[in-house]
């Protein structure tokens, strides 16, 4: 898997490079600001870009802006955004073009290299990888929604795992239930949320998120 990294702190840039390279990825470029990220993506067409939200010169949301710009120029470029904090606004903005291939993880997740690289691969394959924190913010922010409150706690758990980009099999494994039980939960969720069922994993997530942030 060919990766472009955008991270302004050399300490983390080098760490990420080492982590990805020792897990069978090739870091084709490691840049430190937004404009060079857009350039690197145009030049290398990587399988995934790993981007820090806060980049120079403004140290605000440069990373998100640069990622959006890059996806405008090279549509469908998978982007995995890393951040010290989660902000549901950024997740919604990244997901809003509906092209998939979006991840948004807390930097904490790099503590588990296998899991992290797995998330990067899911994003590269056009799926989603939203941090559980992001998902619970997205869900929590709509606590007043009556349709959402119809979900049972177990269905809510399943919805969170869907948003994280898990497959049905992974969800079954995580919740220690059978495959068919997961399918039943999912169809219940779609029914309760008035969503037509669809086949691709990331489409389900996008539908859910579009609904949640709409």
């Amino acid at each position: 898997m060919r990766v472009v990294i955008a991270e302004d702190l050399a300490l983390l840039r080098d760490g990420l490079t080492r982590l990805l390279e020792s897990n069978d990825c090739t870091v084709v470029a490691a840049v430190e600001d937004g404009p060079s990220l857009v350039e690197a993506i145009e030049q290398y067409r990587p399988d995934v870009a790993v981007v820090d939200v806060r980049l120079p010169p403004t140290f605000r949301d440069e990373g998100v802006r640069a990622a959006l710009e890059a996806r405008r120029r090279v549509p469908g470029t998978p982007v995995l955004v890393l951040s010290q904090y989660v902000e549901r606004t950024y997740a919604s903005e990244l997901l809003s073009d509906g092209a998939g291939g979006v991840g948004y993880l807390l930097k904490d997740r790099v503590a588990d290299p296998a899991e992290f690289v797995d998330a990067a691969r899911r994003v590269a394959a056009g799926g989603t990888a939203l941090d559980p924190e992001v998902v619970s913010q997205l869900l929590g922010g709509r606590g007043g929604d009556s349709r959402l409150s119809q979900l049972t706690p177990r269905e809510r758990e399943v919805l969170e795992l869907i948003a994280e980009g898990r497959t049905n099999a992974a969800i079954a494994q995580a919740l220690v239930v059978t495959h068919s039980a997961v399918e039943k939960h999912i169809s219940n969720i779609f029914w309760k949320l008035d969503l037509p069922a669809s086949d691709a994993d990331h489409r389900r997530v996008l539908a859910v998120l579009a609904y949640l942030s709409g």
Binding site: L9, L11, L12, G15, L19, S22, N23, Q84, A111
Partner: protein, 415 residues
Amino acid sequence: MTTLRHWLGRLGKDSLYLVTGLPMGILTFTVAVTGWSTGLGLLITLIGFPVLLVTALALRGLSHVERGRAQLVVDAPLVARYKEPAKPGVWERFKSILSDAQNWRDLGWSLLLLPIGIAGFTIAVTAIATVLGLIFAPAWTWALWASHDPVDLGLFHVHDIWTSLIATAIGIAAAPLGLALVRGSAAASGALAQALLAPRTEQLTERVEVLQATRAGAVDAAAAELDRIERDLHDGAQARLVSIAMDLGLAQQKLDSDPEQARQLLAEAREGASAALVELRDLARGIRPALLAERGLGEAVRAFAARSPVPASVTTELGEEPVPEAVESAAYFVVAEALTNVAKHAGAQRATVSLVRRGDSLEVLVVDDGHGGANADGAGLKGLRARVEALDGTLGIASPAGGPTMLRVELPCGS
């Protein structure tokens, strides 16, 4: 002796104020009455407008002179504020003058000053002349003793040395009365001047404006400080911890396949943890130095100066009375920022720091022997100024090209 000198000085100022009141009164009355009657009379021909305008501006100038004159008898500074015209142009200026209450108060004082000046002048001259005339009676009445019309004092005639000495005694006895009359008239006139020319509300308004500005500055400074702390955390300790987590995760992954690399990653993680601790400690020190909380201002400043790259000597005279915590903090950061600037920009060989408690305020002085030319509008000094002004303190810097640079801060310690 000092009280006598004090009273004579007081008497001098009072009588000067009362005596000059008459010519000033004649002047202001003449300008006011002539200007306004001419202006109003000519209003129908439109020439009246400029006449009124000029009259108002002249009275404004005279009122300014009057404010200065009132300082002879009033201790507080006399401050007045006038409305500024919202838009340029003669008509706008005219409107702003007509609608300005202070302008009408000025006019009132210009008219009142004539009767007040006449009364004050009469009282001062009569009281002083009578008292002096009586006291020094032996010196001048002798010329009239032999005449048909000796000096008539109402109760008796002064016609020889003994009666003149009685007059002296009466003069000495009446002196306090004369003094009191002069003092009373001057004080009353001064108070009226103050009430009309510099109403107390104006001073309060000015104070409120100063407070608003300094509070905004303090809020900005606090926000900038929080920003800095957040940035320091984000780029410092938080990044370190992420990197440590990454190293540990990788090490765990490599434990079986590549134990040598795992060992190295663990060593790096440990170093990272030490660095994170140092960064957190520095950050905490930047918020409130531990020594300041534990040992007070003097020790904390001494410790900071000892770490300064430019040798700095510290003298403190803080006295017994405790300094408020906010003042301590501000004083500490003034010294810290000043010494940091000295090390960074001044090219100095050495610096001196002094902290002196003077009555109700704390004076902080930082002097270096560098090449001067410090920028008083730089970000660092601006932040310090905001911090100092938030506590009602003042900050001054003198930094001529070629040096030396002197930073002086005064912080009130009163409750």
